[in-house]
């Protein structure tokens, strides 16, 4: 699914909205997340996931083809951690329902911290 397909789908579901408004809604959401990350803020969307920015220190890298060393400057990388509900849905567990009755299961990671 692309952004334009998402917009078309939302426009279909909301016939009372102009498509250009749907476009603005979708764009605003992603712009808001991007702007928050550029401030170094974290974006936490419970059930969906959390976006954050991690700092990677400067390091000495290596060109894998030639083996020469290159200085890699410090940089920030955006990071997304999948929320618990979405992770469970991807694995057909509990389809959005509150997760009771299932035994404890180690999935490697815990909920967004």
């Amino acid at each position: 699914m692309t952004k334009s397909e998402l917009i078309l789908k939302l426009a279909e579901m909301n016939p009372h909205l102009y498509q250009r408004d749907v476009e603005r809604i979708v764009q605003t959401i992603f712009d808001e997340i991007a702007t928050a990350l550029s401030r170094g803020d974290r974006v936490e969307l419970r059930g969906f996931g959390a976006f954050s920015v991690k700092k990677r220190d400067a390091r000495v890298g290596r060109n894998p083809r030639t083996g020469t060393t290159v200085a890699v400057a410090a940089k920030y990388v955006p990071y997304f951690k999948t929320g618990k509900d979405l992770r469970d849905r991807l694995n057909h567990r509990g389809e959005g329902k509150p997760m009771a009755s299932e035994g404890p299961e180690y999935l490697g990671e815990d909920e967004e911290d």
Partner: protein, 107 residues
């Protein structure tokens, strides 16, 4: 710089300010956007948002894990995980704002 955590409420507020629907409808639309993305991913589709990034579902095979507390070996079942790849536009926006290097390679 004091960092905050942005939530659904902030996204709805931004939509409310930008589009001029009611607060309730703005909040509902934020929810629908997240739900449509989640539904597509659950179907196994990847979701590409140009100039933001892409979400893709990756199939992981079974492997032997270890309970880090007890050291006991436990099988980790095959599962699907979500990976997010930020677009170059998003990466460079963040690095410009926060003062990191915009390009990976040295120039």
């Amino acid at each position: 710089m004091e960092n905050r955590t942005i939530t659904r409420a902030d996204l709805s507020e931004a939509v409310y300010q930008e589009v001029g629907l009611s607060r309730n409808e703005s909040a509902a639309l934020v929810e629908v956007v997240l739900e449509e993305i989640s539904a597509a991913l659950t179907r196994g589709e990847s979701v590409k948002i140009s100039s933001f990034g892409s979400f893709a579902v990756r199939e992981k095979g079974q492997r032997i894990g270890r309970n880090p507390k007890t050291g006991q070996e436990v099988p980790i079942l095959p599962r699907r995980v979500l990976v997010f790849r930020a677009s170059n536009v998003l990466k460079s926006k963040i690095n410009k704002a926060l003062g990191g290097e915009t390009k990976t390679a040295s120039e």
